[in-house]
């Protein structure tokens, strides 16, 4: 979790150089996207070992025999 956050901070720091002198749309997109990334990160670190998208779809579609 700490490593993930560290990488994210480093990547965002690199992007701050890009954001300078950018439009409002750029800044809003970037902030919203980073919030989504953080939320997804939290979901993974809380539930990552318990859920798998593939297992869920296979159960729903009943594809165990494949």
């Amino acid at each position: 979790m700490i490593f993930y956050l560290l990488l994210l901070i480093l990547a965002v720091l690199l992007d701050i150089k890009e954001i300078k002198n950018k439009t409002k749309a750029d800044i809003i997109f970037f902030v919203v996207a980073i919030i989504i990334v953080i939320i997804l990160g939290i979901i993974y670190f809380l539930l990552g070992e318990k859920i798998g998208i593939a297992e869920y779809i296979i159960n729903v579609l009943n594809l165990e025999g494949m």
Partner: protein, 369 residues
């Protein structure tokens, strides 16, 4: 966008051709030999026909688009096309759908890359290590120019042709002709299914049109698209020929990495062995390129859809989402394979082939093409 950051249609198709090696080598042997047995190598060639038809339809949509007065309009990319055919709101919705699809494919390819390395070379290594290493490289490359990516693909493509040609010639001594001959077509339903399965690998080419605003010569989409379709069909056929010829189709169905196993069997005059190491090197580069290809596409869709001033702004969030998605996709390799071979293939078919045909029909009804 940097005005000098342009690639030719040839470079775009070369990028796609190199990327296609990954799914062809992974999915073709198992699925098609399961359905078609001895004649599977020939069936791989039939896939060229629907692929060429798809290319022709997409070429018409991208190059022969007309406005209400019947004048030709220049379509910059698939994003522009969706807006013009479906209008602003439905067009935006569809672009978001394609964005999610390309991110999902990037996550899937990344996870499969990690799993493949663990299953073939580094058996006890942690998965996350490979995923992060790959994504660090992808992160810096995706922030670079598309033109650099195109030139890199050109070099890799030539290298691939040499390596692949050498491998196919070396494998001839291991091929048992009874495993690949005679070609019989007893079950038309199975052959049709195999062609559809194989075609669903190729039709990701539709995503290339989202990089259209980087391409100088969109009018060459038909020419180089058809070349790519033929090349992919021939490569697929040779992969099938080598794997089923070496092991027989029954064995190929149950082997985890049949093409890789077939390469392991190559022994030239008891002098040259372990040729698979050369191919693994190329395979890793192709893996890097396919993840990069999807990230370029998804970041460009973000740029066009959210009116960003630079594509680079979307790279950081997409790379992190791809990492999380790669880990969340499946708990183990077996379910990941089911997801890849059964579910994602169907999505590919819907969004990559059926949907462009549907778009063409709508454009035709509205007299836009």
């Amino acid at each position: 966008m940097d005005k000098n950051d342009k690639i030719s249609m040839y470079q775009l198709m070369v990028i796609f051709a190199v990327c296609m090696v990954v799914p062809i080598v992974r999915a073709f042997p198992i699925r098609i030999s399961e359905l078609c047995g001895v004649s599977s190598w020939f069936v791989a060639l039939i896939i060229i026909i629907p692929s060429v038809i798809l290319i022709l339809l997409e070429h018409k949509l991208l190059n022969n688009f007309k406005d209400k007065e019947g004048k030709n309009i220049k379509i910059h990319s698939a994003s522009d096309l969706l807006d013009r055919v479906y209008g602003k709101y439905i067009g935006s919705l569809l672009k978001v759908l394609y964005l999610l699809w390309s991110i999902m494919l990037a996550g899937l390819e990344l996870r499969l890359f990690g799993e493949r390395l663990i299953s073939t070379t580094f058996i006890f290594a942690p998965l996350k290590f490979f995923l992060i290493t790959m994504l660090v490289v992808v992160f810096f490359l995706a922030r670079g120019k598309v033109s650099s990516f195109g030139r890199f693909a050109e070099i890799i493509f030539e290298l691939f042709l040499v390596i692949f040609g050498f491998i196919c010639i070396s494998a001839v001594s291991n091929i048992d002709i009874q495993n690949v001959w005679p070609v019989t077509f007893n079950r038309i339903d199975k052959i049709s299914l195999a062609v559809i399965e194989g075609f669903s690998v190729f039709n990701v080419i539709s995503l290339s049109a989202f990089l259209g605003d980087y391409v100088d010569d969109m009018k060459n989409y038909k020419k180089y698209g058809i070349y790519t379709a033929i090349l992919s069909g021939v490569v697929g056929s040779l992969v099938m020929f080598v794997t089923t010829g070496t092991f027989s189709s029954k064995l190929v169905e149950i082997l985890p990495q049949p093409f890789f196993m077939a390469l392991k069997m190559i022994n030239l005059f008891n002098v040259i062995e372990r040729i698979e190491a050369v191919f693994i090197t190329f395979w890793l580069v192709a893996d890097l390129m396919i993840v990069l290809y999807y990230i370029f596409i998804s970041s460009n869709i973000c740029k066009l859809e959210f009116k960003l001033s630079s594509r680079k702004l979307a790279v950081t969030p997409i790379v992190f989402i791809v990492y999380i998605l790669a880990l969340l996709l499946a708990k183990n390799y077996f379910t990941l394979e089911i997801l890849s071979n059964h579910i994602v293939m169907k999505f590919n078919l819907i969004l990559g082939a059926i949907f462009p045909v549907f778009t063409y029909v709508i454009a035709k009804l509205r007299k836009q093409v």
